[in-house]
Symmetry: D2
Subunit: 284 residues, 4 copies
C-alpha cells in the first residue's frame, strides 16, 4: 500500500453559507470534544459568500456526534465531512504514454503518493509490464470494434467494483462521455498538457509551437461535461524559446505534467481542494 | 538621452533562405574587412528553412561595402542589415495606467532602457505630470468627438514627424485600426495583461478570475491586424491562488507587465528579435 | 499620502505559547464584540510550540476592551496587538543606487505602496532630485570626516523625530552598528542583492559570477547584529547563464531587488510578518 | 540501451585561445568536407579570452582528417574533439534514497535519458530490486569494516572495467577521496540538495530550515577536491514557507533534485557543457 496514515488524525471539512461566528462555533465543538487542532484554514468567497474550512486535528473520539453537532450549528445546506486521514483509493486511466503513470507508480511504491493505486486501466496494452513491475494490477480494455458507449460500459464494469475515490486520467487520450462523467461527479481528474484555457483540445504542443508562445504549461482539473473546462486544481509552466520543435515541447512538457499531477494527487489525498462554482479553493 | 552606445560596435542581421556555407561565407567577409566578432548567433528554422544570423562586431570600417559584399554572396531575397549599436527611437502610447510608462521613464532617466523616449502620447491627460517629471514630452490627443479614423489621423500627424523606430503601447486601451497598423509594419509593440493566447481581448484579469486559473501572465507582441494575435516576443507568469480578487490579480499583474515590457524593449534595442512567420526568433 | 485605508478594518495579532482552545477563545471575544471576521490565519510552530494568529475584521468598536479581554484569556506572556489597518510610516535609507528607491517612490505616488514615505535619507546627494520629483523630503547626511558613531548619531537625530514604524535600507551600502540597530529592534529592513545565505557581505554579484552559479537572487531581511544574518522575509531568484558578466548580473538583479523589496513592504504594512526566533512566519 | 542515436550526426567541440577568424576558419573546413551544419554555438569568455564552439553537423565523412585540419588552423594548445552523437556510458552511485535513481531508470527504460546506464552501484542493498525491475545491473559494495581507501578500491575495481564516460552520484552520501576523484577528472557528477554555495556539506535541508530561507534548491556540479565546490552545471529552486518542516523540505526537494539531475545528464550526453576554470559554459 502506498502510505502509512497517522492513525489518529482527522480532517474536518465545512462548506456552507457565510455568517458571523462560524469559526468560533465550529472550534467550540472540537474543543469540547477534546480534539487538538493541528492546523486550520478558512476562506470566505466574496462573490458567492460561501465559507470554507479545513481543520486537521487529533484526539477526536466520537466523529459521528461531533459531525452532527457541527451540522446543527451551521446554516441550512451546510456540507460537513469528517474523515480519518488515510490514503485515497485511486484508479489510473492511461493510453500509451508512460511518463505520468510511471511517476505515480514509483511514488506509490515508496509510500510518497499518499494514495492507494488500485489499478492501471488502459485502452492499450503497452504499459502492462510497467504496472506489473510495481505490483499494481493492469487491465487492458481495448476499443476494438466497440462503440464509445460500449467501451465506457466495460470501463465502468471494471472500475465501479473497485470503489475508487478518484479516477485519474494520466494521459488518457479519449474523451469521456457526459454519461460516464456524471457517474463520477467531481471525482475524475485530468492532466492536460497545456496552460489552460490556452490550447484546449487536441495536440496542445503543436498548437503552442504554431502560436509561438515563450512559456508552456500543464494543468490538472476536474473533468466536467465541457472538454478541458472543468475547475482547475494546479498549473505549472516552464519557459521555452524559438528553437523548440513540437517534439522538444512535448518532451519538456512531460516533466511538468507529472509534477503537476503528483502535486494534485497530494492535494486531493489531504482533502485540501474545495469546489466553488467552476473554481477551486485550495488550502496548501 | 537614455543610453551611451559604444561608438564602434556594429550589428549585422541576416535573414535568408538556408543553404550550405552561409556562416563561413558571412564570417569571411567580416574577417577580410578587419572586423572583430564579439558575439555570433545563428538559427535555421526547420519548418521554413530560413536562416537567421546576428553578429555583433567592432572594427568595421566600411559598412556599405561589407553589406553589399555579403548581400552578393547570399541567396536571392536575403535581407541584410548593418547598423551601429545605438538607442532605438521610441514613442510610447498610453491610456490612464501609470505603471508601465513610469517604469520606462525611470529606466530611461538612468540610462538603463537602451532606447530614446521621444514622447509619451495619451488619449487622457492624467499622466502628463509623470512624463514631465522626467523631461519627456507629453502629448494629449483626446478622443473627444472624433471618429476612430480621425483620432488615428491626429496620432499619425503627431507621431510620424518624430520618426520613431518603434511605437510602444504601454497599456493603450483602444484598438488600433488595420489602416494605422499597416503604416508601422512590425514596429508597433503591445503589452497584453494575460498569458496569450489565453484571455485575449478585454478585461483579461476578470476572465482569469472567472476561469479560476492558478497562474497569470503578461505577453508582449507585435501588433498585427488580428487583435492580440501578432508574433509573441516575451511572456512571464506568476502563481496566484483562490484568494486573489480581480483587483488583486490586476495589481500583481502590473509587476510582470512592466518587467515583460522593459525586457522586450531591451531585446528590440539590441536587435535580438527576428520575425519568422507569426513566430519570433530571439537571440538572447 | 500613499494609501487610502478602509477606515473600519482592524488587524488583530496574537503571538503566544500554544495551548488547546486558543482559536475558539479568541474568536469568541471577537464574536461577542460584534466584529465581523474578514480573514483569519493561524500557525503553530512545532519546534517552539508558539501560536501565531492574524485576524482581519471590521465592525470592531471598542479595541481596548477587546484587547484586554483577549489578553486575559491567553497564556502568560502573550503578545496581543490590535491596530487599525493604516499605512505604516517608513523612512528610506539609500546610498547612490536609484532603482529600489525609484520603485518605492512611484508606487507611493500612485497609492500602491501601502506605506507612507516620510523621507529619503542618503549619505550621498545624487538622488535628491528623484525624491523631490515625487514630493518626498530628501535629506543628505554625508559621512564627510565623521566617525561611524557620529554619522549614525546624525541619522538618529534626523530620523527619530519622524517616528517611523520601519527604516528601509533600499541599497544603503554602509554597515549599521549594533548600537544603532538596537535602537530600532526588528524595525530595520534590508534588501540584500543575493540569495542569502549565499554571498553574504560585499559585492555579491561578483561573488556569484566567480562561483559560476546558474541562478541569482535577492533577499529582504530584518537587520540584526550579525551582518546579513537577520530573519529572512522574502526571496526571489532568476536564472542566469555563463554569458552574464558581473555587470549583467547586477542589472538583472536590480529587477528582483525592487520586486522583493516592494513585496516585503506590502507584507509589513499589512502586518503579515511574525518573528519566530531567527525565522519569520508570514501569512500571505 | 537507452537511446537510438541519429547515426550520421557528429558533434565538433573546440576550446582554444581566442583570436580573429576562428569561426570562419573552422566552418571553412566543415564546408569543404561537405558537412551540413545543423546548429552552431560560439562563446568567448571575456576574462580568460578563451573561445568555445560546439557544432552539430551531418554528412561528415572523414572525421580524422577534418579534426586534424581544424587542429592545424587553431592556436597552439587548442582542444578539438569530434564524436558521433551517441549515448554516453554512465555508472550511477547511490546510497539509500530511491528518487533520483528511479527517475534515471524510468527515463532510461523509455529511451529518454540519452545515456546508457551501465550499472547502479551502492553501499547499501535496498535499491537492488528497483534497478533489477528495469534490467540494469546492481552491485552492492558495502562499507563493512573497510577503510575509505579500501572501499574506494573496491568501487574502482568494479567500475573501471565498465569504461564509463561519467560516474553520477545520484544521492551518494559518502565523500569521495581526492585520490578517487583524480582518477575520473571532470567525469564525476554530483547532485547536491541545496542551492550551492548556500548549505554546502551535510544536511542542507536542516540547515535551510534553521536559516529560515523562503526558497530551496538543488545543484548539479562536477566533483572536485573541494567538497561541494566543483563547477556548477545546473540549478533549480522552488519556493517554500514557514510551515515546511525539514521533512517537508526534503520531500519537496526530491522533485527538483531529480529534475536537475536528468537535465544535467541530457546536457552532458549532448556535449553541451564546457569547463572554463571553475565555471561552466553551457550551450543549450
Amino acid at each position: 500500500m502506498g502510505t502509512a496514515p497517522e492513525t489518529t488524525e482527522h480532517i474536518l471539512l465545512v462548506d456552507c453559507r457565510d455568517c458571523p461566528g462560524l469559526v468560533h462555533a465550529i472550534t467550540g465543538v472540537l474543543f469540547r470534544a477534546g480534539a487538538n487542532v493541528i492546523s486550520n484554514n478558512e476562506y470566505v468567497d466574496a462573490e458567492t459568500q460561501r465559507f470554507f474550512m479545513r481543520t486537521a486535528c487529533d484526539g477526536l473520539a466520537d466523529e459521528a456526534s461531533v459531525k452532527a453537532e457541527i451540522q446543527r450549528l451551521l446554516p441550512a445546506g451546510a456540507v460537513v465531512q469528517i474523515r480519518e486521514a488515510a490514503p485515497r483509493r485511486v484508479v489510473v486511466l492511461v493510453s500509451r504514454e508512460h511518463h505520468c503513470v510511471a511517476d505515480l507508480l514509483v511514488r506509490h511504491a515508496y509510500g510518497e503518493l499518499g494514495a492507494e493505486l488500485l489499478a492501471v486501466v488502459s485502452n492499450h496494452d503497452n504499459l502492462r509490464s510497467l504496472a506489473e513491475k510495481f505490483s499494481v494490477p493492469f487491465h487492458h480494455v481495448p476499443y476494438g470494434s466497440l462503440t464509445r458507449e460500449e467501451h465506457e460500459d466495460a470501463l465502468q464494469a471494471l472500475i465501479a467494483p473497485m470503489r475508487p475515490d478518484y479516477i485519474v486520467l494520466a494521459k488518457y487520450m479519449r474523451i469521456l462521455s457526459p454519461r460516464f462523467v456524471a457517474t463520477w461527479p467531481n471525482r475524475i481528474i485530468n492532466i492536460h498538457h497545456s496552460f489552460l484555457p490556452a490550447f484546449a483540445g487536441a495536440r496542445p504542443y503543436a498548437q503552442a509551437f504554431h502560436r509561438g508562445v515563450k512559456v508552456i504549461g500543464a494543468t490538472s482539473h476536474f473533468v466536467s461535461d465541457q472538454l478541458d473546462e472543468g475547475p482547475i486544481i494546479a498549473q505549472q509552466v516552464i519557459p521555452m524559446d524559438h528553437s523548440y520543435t513540437p517534439d522538444d515541447l512535448s518532451r519538456a512538457g512531460r516533466d511538468i505534467e507529472r509534477t503537476v499531477l503528483s502535486n494534485t494527487l497530494k492535494l486531493l489525498n489531504e482533502d485540501r481542494v474545495f469546489l466553488c462554482g467552476n473554481r477551486t479553493v485550495i488550502f496548501d
